[in-house]
Symmetry: C2
Subunit: 369 residues, 2 copies
Amino acid sequence: MSSSPRCTAIVAGLPAAIPFVGPETLERKRGAPFRVRVGANESAFGCSPKAAQAMTTAMAHIAWYNDPEAFEARDAIARRHGVALEEVLLGAGIDEMLGNVVRMLVEPGTAVVTSRGAYPTFNYHVAGFGGLLEAVPYRDDAIDLEALLDGVRRTNASLVYLANPDNPMGTWHTADNVRRFLDALPASTVLVLDEAYVEFAPDDATWPMATHDPRLIRMRTFSKAYGMAGARVGYAIAPRETITNLGKIRNHFGVNRLAQAGALASLGDDAFLAWVVDEVATGRDEYHALAARLGLPSVPSATNFVCLDVGSGDRARALLAALHDEGVFVRMPGVEPLDRCIRVTVGTALEREAFALTFEQVLHGLQGG
Amino acid sequence: MSSSPRCTAIVAGLPAAIPFVGPETLERKRGAPFRVRVGANESAFGCSPKAAQAMTTAMAHIAWYNDPEAFEARDAIARRHGVALEEVLLGAGIDEMLGNVVRMLVEPGTAVVTSRGAYPTFNYHVAGFGGLLEAVPYRDDAIDLEALLDGVRRTNASLVYLANPDNPMGTWHTADNVRRFLDALPASTVLVLDEAYVEFAPDDATWPMATHDPRLIRMRTFSKAYGMAGARVGYAIAPRETITNLGKIRNHFGVNRLAQAGALASLGDDAFLAWVVDEVATGRDEYHALAARLGLPSVPSATNFVCLDVGSGDRARALLAALHDEGVFVRMPGVEPLDRCIRVTVGTALEREAFALTFEQVLHGLQGG
């Protein structure tokens, strides 16, 4: 008897690889927790006390299913961005929504375009639905909008992925440039614009959400500046028909009850958000100053992390391993030429200090060895 | 310009209907909250205090992503059931896992078998991946295992759905009968056995989880007896290769951090679980006694709800509407002949009392009207 009855051809052909190995897995392998967790671009500043209070209060009814319409959070999001309720989708993080966008648009053989070294989970979803991924190179450590557009035209792509600001590099484009890119797209191509880090970016990196372009799906998250990565909640804004189509395939009870309450409360605490953004800006400056002091270039960032350029992929991998050995969790871009960098998340002041000390030590250790 | 660029044929052809309208949606429509929420088979007895404590503690790190391997909860589940870690999948509720099982096995045109009136969310997923659903009738308010098997053979189905105990009727089969059914399945057919309500069932309704049959995927949840429906967490146990294949398409960061902590802690509080099961048995007895007093048949139940047989679909729909008007949220099966029943969840003693009073009133009102 076969041990895997009639698995679909797509699933049978997929690798068992996963997009990200979690720090907990690394901790289990090394047999000890990390001292400093600055690798997953999580917020070192927690969530809003109002969100924490709302989640604690919501715990009283954890035995009740969550509202499958997520009405209250969606209503607040719609009001905040001046769009209709029907233009807002709440999802269990951008990851889940990216999966559903891919499922909505990608059939086996559908062309999809992204940048080489951009978000692996998007690529995972494209492979998972049998799409053909075209990955164009970065240019000067930033997304190359012209190359993306060329890729779309060359492959007749249904879907193109753009994170602005970008992860893993931290660079960004102005809203004017992104809108020019959008305007140049064919009518049959959808741009999924991942704005996970947008709260950390300069004002000119984004534009009002009420765009109403049928080619555009914008995604934001409570995982980064709002400090709720463990809650799994984000949102997409797109024209009604797009949200309706996503509603045909979404997991209706997919957003945890506490996460919905926390997201709603977070939207009511702009002072907290502003404080986090300020702290992150301070931390970024420190990392840039650290790099300068160590004679390393660093990549300009509009996010909550900074890429430190250590010169080569081999050197970066050696440093990453040494940092992990010393209990410091960081990550690095996966492909050339981006992989000459170590990507470090802005931690608390103490975490930044600990990172700086350890980084300098392992850097000198490597140079001496 | 088209307002929906190149949506896949499957998604374009799906209805915008949703499997379940949540009570919150009904409350918004009626402009007032329900007094008594006994419609979604949620636990009236909350979650274990240990789980609540664990979730509160986990809130301190809500800014951190959840462990994508869900190691601790899966390890505890594996130990509890005497299976290997690699045979356990943790998911954001059975709904999410059902979607992935369908995605793994169903291509456009693949035959799938269920029972007519069984879990609508399963049907939603089958439609969502282009499967052809064959729904066989119930027999005496129970799943008809022979009809299911005939359906599988007739359609050459890749997948068959069975909830034991059953929702929406509450009836159940012995483990011996379910295993005979499994043994009779073709090698190319997978049985997804939904045991969401199994904790409430007699001991002979289930059997040890270490089955190792490549045709079997068993699913359990923390949403019912464990009282954590709002947290979205459940698990599947199946042979390693099946879990590996599901791992190729799952949402790796999909299970909320608090939910993972709560699930783990719940598994360490068997005394709480036993108390809930006892309370639910008491409540079921009360509902059966209420039905008898009102001269109505009631359907035997191995779950946390009871179906009260009010004679016809029209009468049940009228009673349901009247109950909703009076602030009592219940549900009812969607199709004949099951739809002659009102399905009422075991509430707290006060909720049961309030339900009984209101139900008797609307029943008399309907008879007088």
